[in-house]
């Protein structure tokens, strides 16, 4: 396991903390823009901001991996996590929207 944890120069600490924070902040930005645009609270062109957020997040994740000197297995896990996160809001929104549509349909039928 010696390979797993390598010494990190203290000059990299600030970059690591900032990049870690950016990963989560842009991750929220992606989810927030995606949801708000899908709900038509913002113009659909703002979807570009959503995917731009995800792209910056993915780049930050890559840079974090470099700074932390992670080994190949963790590199793959990090990339897999980013792909998963790209899909995640789509699935959540799809499920929420389906439930809403079904409920609205049921309400209309009941009213008739």
């Amino acid at each position: 396991m010696e390979y797993y944890l390598q010494d990190i120069p203290h000059t990299d600490f600030l970059h690591i903390f900032v990049v870690s924070a950016m990963i989560i902040i842009f991750g929220m930005g992606y989810a927030a823009f995606f949801t708000v645009v899908k709900m038509k609270l913002l113009n659909r062109y703002f979807m570009i901001a959503a995917y731009l957020s995800w792209t910056i997040q993915a780049a930050c994740m890559y840079y974090l991996g470099v700074l932390l000197r992670v080994e190949p297995y963790t590199q793959k896990v990090l990339i897999g996590a980013m792909v998963g996160y790209l899909i995640f809001p789509h699935i959540v929104y799809f499920v929420l929207d389906k439930v809403h549509r079904r409920l609205e349909h049921e309400t209309e039928v009941n009213q008739i």
């Binding site: 396991m1 797993y4 944890l5 390598q6 990190i8 120069p9 203290h10 600490f13 600030l14 690591i16 903390f17 870690s20 924070a21 990963i23 989560i24 902040i25 991750g27 929220m28 989810a31 927030a32 949801t35 708000v36 709900m39 609270l41 932390l68 000197r69 992670v70 297995y73 963790t74 896990v77 990090l78 996590a81 996160y85 995640f88 809001p89 959540v92 929104y93 499920v95 929420l96 439930v99 809403h100 409920l103």
Partner: protein, 476 residues
Amino acid sequence: MQGNRLYEGQKLALKYFTVAIVLFGAQLLFGLIAAIQYLYPSFLFNTLDFSIARMVHINALVVWLLYAMIGAVYWLLPDEAGVEVVGVKLGTLAFYILTAAVAVVVLVYIFVQVGPGNEMTLWLITEGREYIEAPRWADIGIVAVVLVFLYNVYATVLKGKHSGILVVLMADLIALAGLYLAGMFYTDNIAVDQYWWWWVVHLWVEATWEVYVAAVGGYILIKTLNANRQVVEMWLWIEVAMMFGSGILGLGHHYFWIGTPEYWWEIGALFSALEPVPLVGLFVHVLYDWGKERGKGNSIKNIPAFAWLTVETFGNFLGAGVWGFMHTLPQINLYTHGTQWPAAHGHLAFFGAYVAIMISAIYLAVQGKAGLKEMKMTKAGWWAISLITVGVLLMTVSLTLSAYTQTMVERGMHGATWEGYFIAQANKWFVQGMGWRLASGLAVVAGYALLVYDLLTVTKKQPAEVTEGEAAVQTA
């Protein structure tokens, strides 16, 4: 006041909320003392040492949150189940026993402080386990009280309606109560002892409490926004799956350096990285419900409760998500654990994830007690939420400044030596961070005073159109 419209269980909830708010004040007071001691180590030295002030500060937090959690369940239980709480008299007796026990434990903490380190200390003074220092007699008492609480919840739900929120809570409370047992036995090996102790601390905070918050948050969304119950409950199940999925093995990030096998590094890293995902999900969920209901022209039924719920969503995300992820991976945690990083993360995460939602639940109960259909925010309420939130955020940034100094100077430049520790403690950036932390703590205390004032007066300061035609919300 239309207290006569309340269920007996809800009246019991108000008792729990009252003690919770008092203990919240005690938490802040002892936090302030500890913050002063960081800057002036001779302050109350040999009278109330830092170790005691910190212990009471953290234990008061844990206990007041538990009080508020039990209170919130007693508040929503009859409302959701549609029947009075079964065993409410037993519950009231348990409340008085618990409160008397907490008072005795706190007095022993403050006036006896330490024992000779034998079995007597373990049973009567403190078990010495960080965050859950209660002596064993109190531990056993807590288990008895929680068993009464569990009985009341189960018996009530079985008698009444089984909503999704209640079913999730029933399962979660079993886990919450059961995990406490992992912190009650003693082993001679410190690594083994820590291994089990983290079950209580981590699996409570990052699994069962998170699920609890999701359930209570769902209830608050229904009450404040008229959010669709089926959507709320469906989302609740998704969150439960995600939180248990990432939270349980996220335990690994506490096993990096306590003598457990090295495979915990990879398990901890992977699942800790996943832990912010449910928080993002919670954020999307609240946003989604707010957007949907706003589109239908629905007004917010309780603005203070909804404002605190919003603080919860962002605070949980920032504190647990951003500040957690910044130092959770083992490669960087090697340099940050034991510094002020966990303190910065812990302050914002606990405030965001738990304190804010419990205050939200208390505002809901205040509205219900007064029988108001809608409740607006008062000036005192706005000042309270602003001072407390900005205060905690500033506190987190201040602690981060000190933490960064420690990581650079003590760990990076001086290799985690004693000499490095003292050099870092004397560094001007570390000291300035601690100074700002004290200033922000004072802002939080001022916010707390306004919060108490607002909770006592908010119903009397509602505009006429709100108070006219008032009806008990919980029975509507």
